[in-house]
């Protein structure tokens, strides 16, 4: 690892003044800057250790006051500051009571030690774990190269949907649950103004811009995540399947948030993680649930529908079967 200088920001403005690059801009060689943000530092440090980025300056935003609170109000919903750690979300009683799928997703993310360090803002901003992307020996599309090595290479962990340009999958499994709750991401812009971005608009697909995974620009900082309020008819569940029981990245993960009354399902959100380069809703599955209510046969139909568009690669066809299995199970867990 190369030498870095360290800047401890105490305000957002200060941090924004110091920063002139993002991990993505360093990775793809776009832009000129060399100072990047870090919150928990998990992914930034990893990228540095692997020799993928070599920032000259790291600007620590961990100590900026006010970004580390979880607030809940039954009318306005949940607000989590960007520096809130995954372990504090995991243990928060309001989250446990009202946002079960989120709690399950957070509790399954990484290891207890990593959850103590990693922040929700950083978790959303982390880059894909695609092993070609993470390898200094492979200059892939996402890093400014010409090839997706995964498409005709070792692709057992890669995308099964929307994998035409880049077959990586998005790393955060917490985002799968957040999307099912229609989370809003609050971002502080360079001009000091805040903007709110619905989570579905936060992600950038490889078709849009393969060098980016989200809409954040240099100098922009996630300040909070907001989840709308829930009523007691809203049920949710989340299932993640890794290659082992202990800590692992998802082979497949799914979140379901449904408003259920009796046999009817008024509203349903079905989200697939680790299926495509960004987390994605399955509107096909959702409409089946809203049409048929939630029962064994609708769950099966929905699971099939969610994978209808799958275009698996040579070695990842099994992921389709796993998605179908766990989606069906997650749907049935909401009733």
């Amino acid at each position: 690892m190369k030498k870095i200088s360290w800047y401890n920001a105490t305000t957002l403005q200060e941090a924004q003044q110091e920063v002139d690059a993002t991990a993505s801009s360093l990775l793809s060689g776009a832009g000129k800057g060399s100072a990047i943000l870090k919150s928990g530092g998990i992914d930034v440090l990893d990228l540095m250790k692997e020799g993928l980025i070599a920032p000259q300056k790291v600007v620590n935003i961990r100590n900026i006051p006010g970004l580390d609170k979880i607030e809940y109000n039954s009318k306005s919903g949940l607000r989590m500051g960007a520096n809130v750690t995954l372990s504090s979300i995991e243990k928060n009683n309001d989250v446990k009571t009202n946002y079960k799928a989120l709690q399950l997703a957070v509790a399954k993310a990484a290891t207890p030690q990593l959850r103590n360090m990693s922040t929700i803002g950083g978790n959303l901003g982390q880059r894909t774990r695609c092993w070609y992307f993470r390898s200094i020996d492979h200059e892939c599309l996402r890093k400014g190269g010409n090839t997706c090595f995964a498409k005709n290479g070792e692709n057992e962990y890669h995308a099964v949907i929307n994998n035409g340009t880049c077959a990586s999958v998005y790393a955060s499994s917490v985002a799968t649950a957040l999307m099912a709750y229609d989370a809003i991401i609050e971002i502080a812009g360079e001009n000091g103004q805040k903007r709110e971005v619905p989570i579905e608009e936060f992600f950038v697909t490889p078709y849009q811009d393969v060098r980016k995974e989200n809409v954040l620009k240099g100098g922009e900082i996630i300040t909070a995540l907001m989840l709308p309020s829930v009523n007691d008819k809203i049920k949710s569940h989340y299932i993640k399947q890794g290659a082992r029981q202990s800590y692992d990245w998802a082979l497949a993960d799914v979140a379901v948030v449904a408003e259920v009354s009796g046999k009817k399902c008024k509203d349903a959100k079905v989200v697939l993680g680790a299926a495509s380069p960004v987390p994605m809703r399955s509107k096909e599955a959702e409409s089946i649930l809203m049409r048929d209510g939630i029962n064994e046969s609708s769950a099966k139909l929905a699971a099939e529908a969610a994978m209808e568009k799958a275009t698996p690669l040579e070695k990842n066809g099994y992921k389709v079967a796993i998605f179908k299995a766990i989606l069906q199970r997650a749907i049935m867990k909401t009733v």
Partner: protein
């Protein structure tokens, strides 16, 4: 030579233990009774260095700092196959803090090393800090002439495939490694066959069978992943070289270093007090030891070279894969009529990819043939890996036996009762089956529901390996100190503690009173930790040395007690007459009364006591219970019951710990681990511990160990190793249990969700 007759226990716990008489040299101690009658041997003695390890006080090689220490880093080949036209190190050399650069060499001795795999160490740089060394490495420019490569073993077997070696290759096995047959022919990338020891004729054998099965079994390449990486510190001083090495063989490192740099062996000292694991890959100097040696010699300063995790995975050794064809004939009554085996495997640019001798030796069968081939690929070299060959071989053999048992309608254990001559495995099957409740086993695939339970069994065999080049010194001091000294290293399994137990037993004192100094070639030579030979080699040497030093002590104090030395014994901290209990003194008083300040005795492992013995090998029987989720393909191991033998057990806690480790590695091999080389670029894609899967806490099942005492009266301790035996049977037992669960046989590991779902026709 004058000999004496001693009585020793003979037999297996759980069966029967009798007594046998052995004629042994006069300087050998009396036979010990069974463990139940001993005080320290065979007991759960706490590791002497437990506190140092748990608190972090233990200094591993990578922890050691020396004044003026330089840190070395490697430049790794960027391509899997290339000739190097030029290497420009000028920029790196002029970087402030860089002290030395060393060009790595292949055996051919060209100017620049020929690149045969991506990640091959090319140039080493020593600098004042790790960061500067890394920066310097990044400044080195290599001009590669890239050439075609092949990383897939089956593609490499094609006569048209790119060639790894132009000329026939000879290599020697590392200590405890799979034996490498010399002089075999090389055709393209395929070297062999090694035909082992054939017997009988196959054709009439198969003709006399009621059922003949043939199948192909595949195992993957597995990397060692010791917690501490490979590496050494070489401190080259004018009067001699001191090497701090993360090694499983102090003697081997010393000899290789001395030979390489043309130094007398006495001028090279190798030290390893604590060792963070080796599993077979840490014999000899290795690339990093060689580089550290050259750089230390060049710079005149101590140089530390520790491999990175990526280097560990790529260039520091692996268990070769195997593609094994097996054809076995069986009669309805279970008798085996013929075994035919043909295997191919790749140790990358190395040799040693055979499947061992288990198919040849383990079961009674009159007709046997094997052909084992090494296939060269553009990949990092294999190395010995916990029971080399046997782990792969058992995966095929124990599955086909399961398949044959089903075909002839026999219980898998009953078939083994028929064909297995090992007495200890027979006891293991009985004891294990009872503890595991084997009788509840249901027909394959008969479970209903999404999650299906299965149980399976597999056995293994390993040699009783020992080395007579194993020497220990026991010293007693007038001030009360008692020391054991040997060059033997503790690979992490607790060698220090067992030496203290053996000596304490002989001297009638407690293990905690003994200072054990090992892992240093200043002390007497001992073998490397390979072949599970350390306990078998060094504990008899230590016991014999303790016995001799005791006799010297008795001679010195007998006069004071006014008795003959021959009637003295040492027990419970006392030196006491066997005839008159009032004639005694404490062990410390005895030491204090010595006319000299210290007395020592140095003894070596003697050859195995002659006579009949129960069986030639170390046996194990492992039972596995697991669940398979037929929708997600996930396997969860619930329980492993393991019946094991290792001669006379010395430390039960440590043995269980080692067996736990062997089983966990077996689970890891069966379900998770897989070195993946990118087919298009030749680079390993899963070189991090994030992507190279090993099991963590939640993946570990309940492990129930039935440790059999297996007395064969072969040495003064009659103890053998467990390191390798514990790792051999697990993967085959898991595969058999998976079959029992889902009714479809998966003949390739790792058994991932992808393979399970494919087997079930779901992916």
């Amino acid at each position: 030579m004058e000999k004496k007759k001693i009585k020793m226990p003979y037999g297996i716990t759980g069966d029967k233990i009798s007594e046998v008489e052995r004629e042994v040299p006069m300087n050998e101690p009396e036979g010990w009774p069974v463990n139940a009658e001993l005080k320290h041997v065979g007991k759960r003695v706490k590791r002497l260095d437990a506190q140092a390890k748990v608190t972090g006080a233990a200094q591993y090689t990578s922890d050691i700092q020396l004044p003026g220490l330089l840190v070395g880093k490697m430049l790794l080949a960027a391509h899997p196959s290339a000739e190097i036209r030029a290497i420009d190190t000028s920029k790196a050399e002029s970087l402030r803090g860089v002290y030395g650069i060393h060009m790595m060499q292949n055996e051919e001795g060209e100017e620049y090393p020929k690149v045969r795999y991506a990640g091959q160490p090319i140039v080493a740089v020593a600098a004042t800090s790790e960061a500067i060394a890394e920066e310097a490495v990044a400044m080195i420019k290599v001009d590669y002439n890239t050439m075609p490569f092949v990383v897939d073993v089956e593609k490499a077997m094609d006569p048209e495939a790119p060639i790894v070696y132009e000329a026939p290759v000879e290599q020697t096995a590392s200590e405890g490694g799979e034996e490498i047959e010399s002089g075999l022919q090389l055709k393209g990338n395929v070297r062999g066959p090694n035909v082992g020891k054939p017997r009988g004729e196959l054709e009439p054998g198969f003709a006399s069978a009621d059922v003949v099965l043939e199948n192909t079994y595949r195992t993957q390449v597995q990397t060692h992943n010791a917690l501490e990486s490979h590496g050494m510190i070489v401190d080259w001083k004018p009067d001699g070289v001191t090497i701090y090495a993360s090694t499983q063989g102090t003697q081997g490192v010393r000899n290789e270093f001395a030979d390489l740099f043309e130094l007398p062996r006495s001028k090279v000292r190798v030290v390893v007090e604590f060792m963070g694991g080796g599993f077979g890959a840490k014999h000899g100097l290795g690339t990093h030891g060689v580089a550290a040696g050259h750089l230390a010699k060049k710079t005149g300063r101590p140089v530390k070279m520790m491999a990175t995790r990526k280097e560990e995975q790529i260039s520091q050794g692996n268990r070769p894969n195997s593609i094994q064809y097996l054809k076995v004939g069986v009669k309805k009554n279970g008798e085996l009529t013929a075994i035919e085996q043909k295997s191919h495997g790749t140790a990358g640019v190395g040799l040693g990819a055979g499947v061992g001798g288990v198919a040849q030796t383990m079961y009674t069968c009159p007709n046997f043939r094997t052909e084992q081939y090494d296939v060269f690929t553009h990949a990092g070299p294999g190395a010995a890996w916990r029971a080399p060959g046997a782990v792969q071989g058992i995966f095929g053999l124990e599955q086909i036996l399961d398949e044959l048992a089903e075909k002839i309608g026999m219980d898998p254990l009953a078939l083994r009762d028929k064909v297995d001559p090992s007495k200890v495995r027979k006891v293991g099957r009985k004891v294990g089956a009872e503890r595991f409740a084997w009788s509840r086993r249901k027909p394959a695939g008969s479970g209903t529901g999404v999650v299906k339970k299965g149980i399976g069994v597999a056995q293994s065999s390993w040699w009783r390996i020992h080395s007579t080049n194993a020497t220990a010194e026991v010293k007693i001091f007038k001030d009360g100190a008692i020391e054991v000294r040997s060059g033997v290293q503790d690979i992490g399994t607790g060698t220090k503690t067992i030496l203290a137990q053996v000596v304490a037993e002989e001297l009638g004192i407690t293990p905690e009173e003994i200072m054990v100094r090992i892992g240093d070639t200043l002390f007497p030579d001992a073998p490397g930790s390979g072949g599970s030979q350390v306990t078998a080699s060094i504990t008899p040497a230590a016991r014999n040395a303790a016995y001799q030093v005791k006799r010297k002590l008795f001679d010195m104090v007998a006069d004071q007690l006014e008795i003959d030395a021959s009637e003295l014994k040492a027990e419970n901290g006392q030196v006491i007459s066997t005839k008159d209990a009032s004639k005694k003194m404490t062990f410390r008083e005895a030491l204090a009364s010595m006319p000299v300040s210290q007395v020592s005795a140095t003894e070596s492992r003697t050859k195995e006591y002659a006579g009949e013995y129960l069986h030639w090998d170390l046996g194990s029987v492992q039972f596995v219970e697991l669940n398979v989720d037929t929708e997600t393909g996930m396997i969860k191991i619930d329980k492993v019951t393991a019946a094991h033998s290792c001669g006379r057990p010395i430390n039960i806690t440590q043995l269980e710990s080692q067996i736990n480790g062997g089983i966990i590695q077996g689970i890891s091999y069966a379900l998770y681990e897989d070195r993946i080389l990118d087919r298009n670029t030749g680079h390993m894609v899963n070189h991090t511990l994030d992507t190279y899967k090993v099991p963590y806490a939640m993946d570990i099942p309940e492990i129930d160990i039935a440790l059999m005492e297996d007395y064969n009266a072969k040495s003064s301790t009659d103890a053998y190793g467990i390191g390798e035996p514990s790792n051999i049977a697990t993967a085959a037992a898991i595969a058999n249990a998976v079959y029992n669960a889902i009714g479809v046989r998966i003949r390739e590991i790792p058994i991932t969700p992808a393979k399970v779902l494919a087997a079930l026709g779901k992916a």
